[in-house]
């Protein structure tokens, strides 16, 4: 457990580490971001589920019909997975306007928020991989294979190339994300085995394997909004003791580069999913969510 070399500008302070609170309220406070995230993730699924199975409507319009691949809010606002639309276009098919509008709306949202907000706050697979991670740490399983986190960018390229060659949206054909939300909303089928596969992969084969190294959708979102996403994790260098607990907690440790944090004043990397684990765990409260515009100068 090497710690970063202490910079000359860092005042010498005793290094504290995170300690799990004993009280329930303390625990809940620690888990505040997880709770928020699960709330959002499940609410989204529930909105879809309720619209399909329980006919949820507002003013006679179906509330949220469809799933995370494409949907319609109140029969008016289309939403669509821009990565899926991109693959379809690469496969030399031209979807109709509604699909482009939907993709545009979603892109806009994430360009403003930050691409990988999807990964931590919406994507249902995140629940699976987080669970696998907890189990892995509890059981002390070490990674069988380690690959660079950059593999997913190659994956992204491969997806687009295969889509072109095969004439179908290559990732959509096999995506466990799609399988999970489709089958949760429309009915569990044999495909749910793929979800189990992701769980086992993250548990036994590669730590934070899927979300952190493989998923091309994650790679896509890492790129979207990289320069524009407003929700960022701000860093107070003065308060930081370089204890490293944030690095241990972060599912994308590559973004926790103290040199960059110091110069940027925030977690700039697109790979940051805004999951809030670092914020929750920091014993010195150096990290908190803020808007990029306010962090302007060194951004």
């Amino acid at each position: 457990m090497s710690t970063e070399p202490v910079s000359a500008s860092t005042p010498t302070r005793p290094v504290r580490h995170f300690v799990m609170p004993k009280t329930l309220s303390g625990k809940l406070y620690y888990w505040r971001f997880v709770i928020a995230r699960r709330f959002v993730q499940l609410s989204v699924l529930l909105l879809f589920f309720g619209t399909v199975h329980w006919g949820w409507k507002i003013a006679g319009k179906p509330l949220l019909s469809g799933n995370l691949s494409a949907s319609k809010l109140l029969d008016v606002i289309p939403l669509a997975d821009p990565f899926a639309v991109l693959q379809i276009v690469c496969s030399q098919h031209w979807p109709i306007l509604e699909a482009f509008i939907g993709a545009g709306v979603v892109l806009l949202i994430y360009i403003l928020l930050g691409g990988r907000v999807f990964c931590a706050w919406v994507c249902p697979i995140n629940m699976v991989t987080d669970l696998a991670n907890v189990a892995r740490e509890k059981l002390g399983v070490r990674s069988l294979i380690v690959v660079s986190h950059k593999v997913r960018y190659w994956g992204l390229l491969l997806v687009l190339l295969l889509s072109f060659l095969l004439g179908v949206a290559a990732f959509e054909w096999v995506s466990p994300i799609g399988i999970m939300h489709r089958e949760l909303i429309f009915g569990i089928g044999v495909g749910f085995v793929a979800v189990l596969g992701v769980f086992l992969f993250d548990l036994l084969i590669m730590a934070r394997g899927w979300c952190g190294h493989i998923c091309p959708l994650g790679a896509f979102w890492s790129i979207i909004g990289w320069a524009t996403g407003q929700v960022k994790v701000a860093f107070d260098n003065k308060a930081c003791t370089r204890c490293g607990d944030c690095v241990k907690a972060c599912p994308e440790p590559v973004v926790m580069n103290f040199k960059n944090l110091e110069s940027d004043g925030m977690v700039r990397a697109g790979e940051c999913t805004n999951c809030g684990k670092c914020i929750a765990v920091c014993p010195e409260n150096c990290l908190e969510f803020d808007l990029r515009v306010r962090l302007g100068k060194s951004a």
């Binding site: 098919h93 060659l165 004439g167």
Partner: protein, 916 residues
């Protein structure tokens, strides 16, 4: 659509998306597209290139190409329908290897019999042709040259060929491949009625109550007629009867009410049994018979049309060839021919030379002759399926007799099964007898209808008379009055024409072998693949003293053994006319141009005619064996003096004398009847006269007033006309001949008049011989013949134990020259297989689809064995078609022939099949 190929995706997403998502059935979308494209097409009428049915077509051309073919809705023959070959009439012109240049065997820039083929100019080709022709002509006279033409030649081509050979070269050695197809039928017509060609027409199908097929696979050979027969049958399943009398079960059996499988040649016995029953059951139409018929018979021991000497026979075939002179009489023949004591004994076939002779007999004699043909006798003799019991077969024969002896309308149909037959003339005559005894002929729904195989065997070969013994319109070369009439029509000096019958096709080919014929010119035929015992002729063509010219449009096997190959224009690349089986003459204009230097046969012959001056041909000519009144012995006289008096000079060319006559040159080109169509023949001839029309009109003069009346040329080109059935008198067609009210040549009150003039005075005698040689005339009467049962010569034995039948299949025409170049047809039947009973195959250790060696005394070929064919052979019999050049079926076939008609019997050769 499960393929993920890039192109597929692009195609479907762009092209089919529109149609599919809008939900229109794709055909409608395609149709809309098509209608737009069709706007520039020009449609004109025409005929199908293939069988004798003679379906009407509409041909569309655009930018100098035939772009579409459709069945002609207005054609009474087919009413817009086409069989699978007919659909491809537009494609047969566009094979990749269409011949476009004359090709000749050359070495060092000159013709050499052993040289390789090289392209030459037309000039060079004609030069060599002229040189070779004159060499042979000088040496052997008119008997040494031969022209072998076709039942697929145009009427005009047949006419030019016949006139050129007979009037020009004074040779009767012109014979069509119709000799191989209809000769027996022709002779039977002439012997029975005194005139050629059927008395009925296709509409009789729609009026028949009982239709009998005699050894004819109509479903595959005349598909459009078969669909009419089937429709008639379905219109009243209970009362309409279709009977398939055949040597093997074929596609016609599917709707037949009765299938009778008989042993080859026993059709003679079966018909005699039926005729005997007609008399037994008192079903003879005595009124009709007494008024309009006489009884006749002829000699029995007429041989089998083979050579009388074994000099040229292969070693293995000598035992068969010997039978031409002496053959053992089997026990059935002995009983049938009323000489039971001769059973198993040798019979000398002394009457081969006078095979066609016949004489009057009495009705009592006729009855006596039929005596032996009892049900028991015929059942035992004729049963063709070894797996069928005699009792069952007897029942079938009775049912057949019951069906044929009827008060209802009776039609009989046949083609090659009864024509390609060593006793083909006889069996044809027996069917006529069956109909004449009951007075069922030449009337609506009633008749014995001899179907023609080729598209213009009637119109060209028979009507124009491109035979070794004929002149136009049923005239005969050996009849002085006919020659006189012809000479007048053709403006010839007396005794120009050769009165001695020339060489039928097989005799001409044998001539190549025995040296009596050295120059042969074939047109629109592939004889070296289609004639029986072809190994002989393939070798003979290559003999150094022989010169073989082959005119054809595609490379054929005949071309391979030829010395000079001339590229010809195909149907629709020239103006033309065909006459089909129901005497319907149909015409077409030229639609497109022939490729390269291919030219019409008429142009080729006219150009050749320019090479000969009268002094080279109308001088004295040797003709061995000529003994005729008015002619010197053994030669044709010099007629030049008389020619000069008629206005010819010694140096007048045959072209000017015979074709570019004053009358013909008056027929001008262009002609408004063309409606813009081209005429390449006229253009290349460069002489300004409408060749096809002038020659047609000249030929037509033979027919008018002679019971063959054709209409004027222009009438056939009328937009509303879809051919016309002759005789056409006072503008009206004739659909039934010889009967009152239908035939303009039959006068009111006559009832029937079999007005054919030929052989209408014959001697009288008894069943065995002539007793009174004075010819007794029988004006207006038809002959009811007694002909005995006779077996075919090459019976299967312990060595060659299977009987080979050959024939055609639906997908291919003849030697496949045209149809094998249509990918769809070739794919459907890529090779000629040997159809065999599965037990026969198993006995020889052969499985379905194995390649086996098929061998006869005359050759051997490898063939694929088919035990699952729709031709279900009885045990002991096998079937093969002859369209496949790689499978030379005809090398196996015996060249025995009907001695009267000289038509070979392609249906009875002994072969053996061994596993390879």
């Amino acid at each position: 659509m499960t393929s993920l190929s890039r192109r597929e995706f692009i195609k479907t997403s762009i092209a089919a998306t529109t149609a599919a998502t809008v939900g229109l059935p794709v055909t409608k979308a395609a149709l809309a597209q098509a209608k737009a494209a069709e706007a520039g097409w020009k449609w004109d009428k025409g005929v199908c290139r293939f069988c004798g049915t003679g379906c009407g077509e509409q041909i569309a051309t655009f930018n100098g190409k035939i772009v579409a073919i459709k069945g002609d809705d207005d054609a009474p023959v087919n009413r817009g329908l086409n069989c699978i070959k007919g659909y491809f009439n537009g494609r047969i012109l566009y094979g990749e290897d269409r011949l476009t240049k004359p090709l000749m065997r050359m070495k060092d820039g000159k013709f050499d019999k052993n040289g390789d083929f090289a392209p030459v100019s037309w000039e060079q080709a004609f030069d060599e042709m002229e040189r070779q022709f004159k060499r042979v002509y000088k040496e052997k006279g008119p008997a040494g040259v031969a022209m072998l033409t076709s039942g697929q030649s145009l009427i005009q081509e047949g006419y030019v060929a016949a006139k050129l050979m007979k009037a020009g070269f004074r040779s009767n050695n012109i014979d069509p491949n119709a000799r191989l197809c209809m000769a027996s039928a022709v002779v039977a017509f002439i012997q029975t009625f005194g005139i050629d060609e059927p008395a009925n027409n296709y509409s009789d199908i729609e009026q028949a109550d009982t239709m009998v097929l005699w050894g004819a696979n109509m479903a595959e050979a005349h598909p459009i007629l078969w669909s009419r027969v089937t429709d008639r049958k379905l219109s009243n399943k209970k009362d309409i009867k279709v009977i398939n009398v055949t040597t093997y079960s074929n596609m016609c059996s599917s709707i037949a009410d009765l299938e009778v499988i008989f042993k080859p040649n026993t059709d003679l016995a079966i018909l005699n049994y039926i005729n005997r029953e007609i008399i037994e059951r008192n079903a003879v139409n005595t009124d009709f018979v007494n008024k309009h018929c006489v009884f006749a018979t002829g000699p029995y021991d007429i041989g089998y049309g083979m050579r009388p000497t074994d000099k040229f026979a292969f070693e293995a075939e000598k035992d068969t060839q010997k039978k031409q002179l002496v053959n053992k009489l089997d026990k059935y023949e002995a009983i049938a021919q009323r000489r039971p004591d001769m059973a198993g004994k040798d019979i000398e076939h002394k009457a081969a030379a006078t095979a066609g002779a016949h004489w009057h007999i009495t009705f009592d004699d006729y009855k006596k002759a039929l005596e032996p043909y009892t049900l028991d006798f015929v059942a035992e003799l004729a049963k063709g399926d070894p797996d069928e019991s005699v009792a069952d077969f007897k029942k079938k024969l009775q049912q057949l007799a019951d069906a044929c002896i009827t008060k209802g309308n009776l039609m009989s149909f046949w083609t090659m099964g009864m024509n390609q037959h060593v006793r083909g003339v006889w069996v044809n005559e027996l069917v006529y007898a069956m109909h004449l005894l009951q007075g069922k002929h030449g009337l609506p729904g009633n008749g014995a209808f001899s179907l023609t195989g080729q598209p213009s065997a009637c119109g060209t070969a028979r009507e124009v008379g491109t035979f070794a013994h004929r002149l136009p319109a049923d005239l005969l070369v050996d009849n002085a009055k006919h020659r006189e009439f012809t000479a007048k029509q053709w403006n010839l000096p007396a005794n120009t024409l050769n009165p001695k019958i020339g060489t039928p096709i097989m005799v001409a080919l044998r001539g190549l072998e025995d040296g009596s014929v050295n120059f042969v010119w074939t047109q629109t035929v592939n004889l070296f693949q289609s004639t029986p015992n072809s190994n002989h002729w393939l070798k003979a063509a290559r003999k150094p003293e022989n010169f073989l010219v082959v005119s054809d449009s595609y490379p054929t096997l005949s071309g391979k053994v030829a010395d000079l190959i001339l590229p010809t224009a195909m149907i629709f690349e020239k103006w033309g006319a065909y006459g089909n089986a129901e005497r319907r003459t149909q015409v077409w204009r030229q639609q497109v141009e022939a490729p390269g230097e291919a030219r019409s046969d008429v142009w080729i012959m006219l150009q050749f005619a320019k090479r000969f001056k009268l002094k080279e041909v109308w001088g004295e000519q040797p003709l061995a064996g000529l003994k005729e009144d008015g002619y010197p012995e053994n030669k044709l006289p010099n007629v030049l003096e008389e020619a000069k008096k008629m206005g010819y000079t010694e140096d007048t060319t045959l072209y000017d004398a015979l074709f570019a006559t004053a009358a013909n040159k008056k027929v001008a080109w262009p002609d408004p009847i063309a409606k813009g169509a081209k005429n390449s023949t006229v253009d290349f001839l460069g002489d300004g006269w409408f060749v096809e029309k002038a020659l047609f009109e000249e030929y037509r003069q033979f027919t008018v007033g002679h019971q063959h009346d054709l209409a004027p040329f222009d009438k056939y080109y009328d937009d509303k006309v879809r051919g016309l059935c002759w005789p056409i008198v006072d503008g009206k067609e004739t659909h039934w001949r010889f009967s009152e009210g239908h035939d303009p040549y039959v006068k009111a009150g006559e009832g029937f008049n079999f007005y054919g003039p030929l052989m209408k005075a014959i001697p009288s005698g008894n069943l065995d011989k002539v007793t009174d040689p004075t010819p007794k005339p029988l004006p207006g009467k038809a002959k009811i013949f007694y002909r005995p049962y006779a077996a075919f010569p090459e019976q299967p034995d312990s060595n060659y134990d299977l009987l080979l039948v050959t024939g055609r299949i639906l997908e291919h025409w003849h030697t496949g020259t045209m149809t094998r170049r249509v990918p769809e047809l070739h794919k459907a039947a890529p090779t000629s297989v040997l159809c065999m009973h599965p037990a026969d195959a198993q006995k020889r250790g052969i499985k379905h689809n194995d390649v086996a060696m098929v061998e006869s005394r005359r050759g051997k070929v490898k063939m694929v064995i088919d035990t699952k064919s729709s031709n279900k052979m009885p045990k002991g019999s096998v079937f093969a078609a002859f369209f496949d050049e790689a499978v030379q079926t005809n090398q196996l076939v015996l060249d025995a022939a009907d001695p009267i008609s000289a038509e070979p019997d392609f249906k009875k050769s002994a072969v053996k099949v061994t596993k390879i």
